[in-house]
């Protein structure tokens, strides 16, 4: 009645399988929760930056986007959100726009034909049924 050596292998195999499936589940969860910051200039996506994930954690990046008319926008991407911190467009509405964080939100700079938007599915927040900010 006592377990034999082969039985031990069966149980080890089961533990390995359970471990592997947890690893698989985790990696799949990351993939689904991937949030991208896309910068669209004059109708085409020129930058695509990952917002979540291990390498994006805690880092602050500033991108200088050269607009089609020769001007510029500076986009700051951090864990707290995405905002345009400087631009030489006449109205500077994009700079005054509040920072965006959730998928589906966007900042638009009409003079420079620039759209900064967040795409993908957030890890716990959906696009709908969220408080407007």
């Amino acid at each position: 009645m006592k377990p034999r050596i082969g039985d031990v292998f069966v149980y080890i195999f089961i533990i390995l399988l359970v471990g592997l499936s947890f690893i698989g589940l985790k990696s799949m969860g990351n993939h689904e929760g991937k949030v991208l910051v896309q910068v669209e200039s004059d109708g085409s996506i020129i930058e695509s930056v990952e917002m979540s994930g291990p390498e994006a954690e805690g880092s602050v990046r500033e991108l200088r986007i050269d607009a089609v008319d020769g001007g510029y926008n500076i986009v700051r991407i951090s864990a707290d959100g995405v905002e345009i911190i400087d631009a030489d467009c006449p109205d500077r509405l994009c700079v005054y726009s509040p920072s965006i964080k959730n998928p589906g939100q966007s900042i638009v700079c009409i003079p420079h034909k620039l759209i900064v938007r967040i795409t993908g599915r957030g890890p716990d927040k959906g696009i709908v049924d969220d408080t407007a900010s």
Binding site: P3, I5, L17, V18, F22, G24, M28
Partner: protein, 170 residues
């Protein structure tokens, strides 16, 4: 050599028993969706020990095709076939080559594990996502340890009894 009619009768009996077990375990509530007691696996084990690989697989295939027709959907055939065949092959390999290293409970548990793997692979293929595999595997593995042990124990007692009572020949 066992008489052909006698062997056929015994195999028919085992198929009938497997089918009944398959049917009644549908009424027994289980903890997790997809988890089953796998009582029919007892019969597979018994057939494997008393007869051999070919006969055991024949019982598995007949049970897997007829079982879902008794009380289930036709797509159930695909699941029970994939699980049954994979677990039957694994149990045969373990029993016939490594009999000395495995107890009945160990072989039965391995069979339960591969039954689940076979079914989940087919489910992933049908639903076209590997996520099903990751989500269900852990809980089904835990269930497989318990049911595999129980089924192995039952099979051991049945084989121990039948080996003395039934004249199998060969």
């Amino acid at each position: 050599m066992m008489k052909k009619a006698r062997k056929l009768t015994l195999l028919g009996l085992l198929v009938a028993q497997a089918l009944v077990l398959h049917y009644i375990e549908g009424f027994i509530p289980v903890l997790a969706p997809g988890a089953k007691l796998g009582l029919a696996n007892i019969i597979t084990m018994v057939a494997l020990v008393l007869f051999g690989f070919k006969e055991a697989m024949a019982i598995v295939i007949i049970r897997a095709v007829l079982g879902p027709l008794l009380g289930g959907s036709v797509t159930g055939i695909l699941y029970s076939l994939s699980g049954g065949i994979l677990s039957g092959i694994i149990m045969s390999i373990l029993y016939q080559n490594f009999k000395d290293y495995f107890s009945f409970m160990g072989i039965s548990t391995a069979g339960a594990v591969f039954h689940n793997i076979g079914q989940l692979l087919v489910a992933s293929w049908i639903f076209d996502t590997i996520g099903i595999l990751y989500t269900y595997l852990p809980i089904l593995m835990v269930a497989a340890v318990a049911t595999g042990y129980f089924n192995g124990l039952v099979a051991r007692y049945i084989v121990g009894y039948l080996k003395n009572k039934v004249e199998l020949g060969s």
